[in-house]
Symmetry: C2
């Protein structure tokens, strides 16, 4: 999936050529043997369990490293960057895919409009503060790419400022990759029609009103501008160090299936394992067994 | 469960009287109709789905509030404080119970030995920084109670210092409760024998070595001191504003079932609902439908 959905480095992205309703890489009915939707949903659970195991190894390695013991890996962390138009499914993807992992090892950060404090710093300041520590799987719900998306479309900064940001982003991401952060950048690509349906759904259900913001319709009115900004951002910042992927997202079950696979394939490249013990196992076993006759302890024993 | 497992306010806690292998509140086989373990595990999933719905309402309310719209609730947040002896099951509880909720709305913080920077501040400094924002479900994996547990047992500070902390904790928790933080404090209560089994398991399985720390055996040798420190902490800080609960935790499936119920009952007291729309729904629908004929948009439409 990584190769299949990846944006060619240095190229221009033709988003119009990617059908948001398509399902690239999904096996046909001869493999799924049932409704593809049901099959994909179950696969997400299976892959999710595997993601949980990989996440544990990532975490274990960082813990061993922090404890000063010999560590097996390289202080890795994984960072999933999710970008999408409103209603593109970022929250749902986090719920389903990140939700399959142990929440203790997740580091999820959402980026809204910058606060006054954030505006006093350069645009990557708040991003740096939100990076996952070693051993964690980070998820960015929106990201520094907003600074070349909404900032460009809404002219929040002069053109020379956002034009300079593509290179700044590439330098930043190269630096992070060198520090052990494996970036997985994903645009959840929905169609204009699907966005309309989902916004209408939010307006029609009082339980979903809180997800609706009148500015969503303003952004929708600038759909073509946003698509162009996405295309340029992914084209200019789709690097070998930090590739971009376009995931067709009109079908939620495909979207989750594809993102889960992107993550699993990313973990596979890390070649993770459990770290060796940072202590003498035999000696610790003896110490532990020595406590069994401990009178102070035994007084407290409550049998099952 | 909240009443059943709750530590009586102001009382002394007799931990020896609580069997860590017991299952208070769990229905008998005439209700479960199958192995209690299997039944409890499925219940955790069902209750977990309900916790997810409650969490969404909590989150929605905070979002509406932040957007300046009318909010339904009172800016609530929930904070689960987990304490236990090593191997008591804090991580497992977070994985199973918090893992049932949407990770986007979770705010999990683990507390290890204080860093040099943390030591330069009072013991509640790092705790205050780790509190969940409104709308979030916070989980403390260890907490400020370590400052009257390990700090006391290992004499990390003079007695007059830790003795003063019980009142400081009560004042802090009262202040948080008044600010809308609903605290659910839980001690996962395992037996000395069960801890021994679990430590041995960690030593016997290379995939679990990373969870083992030689200092665990040192703490085990002071079991009685720790139990006494727990008993006093819960007795002195089990207040109406922030009650303590003792969850028998030798059986993992009971532990998860009990904590899930404690959280659900806590949510029930908040009487949550979805916030009313902070905009004119009819007008927004008209604006949205007005975008359907938008030429710039339609050019981009990709049908399913």
């Amino acid at each position: 999936m990584r190769e299949l959905l990846r944006v060619a480095p240095g190229g221009t992205v033709d988003l119009g050529a990617v059908d948001p309703g398509s399902t690239p890489g999904l096996p046909g009915p001869e493999v799924t043997g049932e409704r593809r939707k049901d099959w994909a949903r179950r696969q997400v659970e299976l892959v999710g369990a595997e993601l949980g195991r990989q996440q544990e190894m990532l975490f274990a390695d960082a813990q061993a490293r922090a404890a000063g013991g010999p560590a097996g890996g390289a202080g890795h962390r994984v960072l999933l960057v999710l970008q999408a138009m409103d209603c593109g499914g970022k929250d749902g993807t986090i719920k389903r895919v990140a939700g399959a992992m142990n929440p203790l090892g997740l580091h999820i950060r959402s980026f809204g409009p910058p606060t006054p404090e954030e505006l006093r710093h350069d645009f990557l300041w708040r991003i740096r503060r939100a990076l996952p520590p070693p051993g964690y799987v980070g998820v960015f719900n929106r990201s520094h790419y907003e600074d070349v998306l909404v900032a460009r479309v809404d002219s929040l900064v002069p053109e020379r400022v956002w034009q300079a940001r593509y290179d700044e982003i590439n330098a930043f991401e190269r630096e992070q990759a060198a520090a052990g952060v494996t970036l997985v950048k994903v645009m959840l690509h929905i169609s204009y029609a699907e966005q309309g349906r989902r916004l209408l759904e939010r307006l029609s259900d009082p339980r979903k009103h809180w997800k609706y913001n009148p500015s969503d319709v303003d952004a929708r009115a600038r759909w073509a501008d946003y698509q162009a900004a996405y295309a340029e951002a992914m084209g200019r910042c789709g690097t070998d160090a930090a590739p971009w992927h376009v995931v067709p997202a009109d079908r939620k079950w495909y979207r989750d299936w594809a993102v889960a696979h992107l993550l699993r394939e990313t973990f596979d490249t890390l070649d993770l394992g459990y770290p060796p013990a940072g202590f003498d196992v035999r000696r610790e076993r003896e110490r532990l067994l020595g406590t069994e006759g401990n009178a102070a302890g035994e007084r407290q024993v409550n049998d099952r």
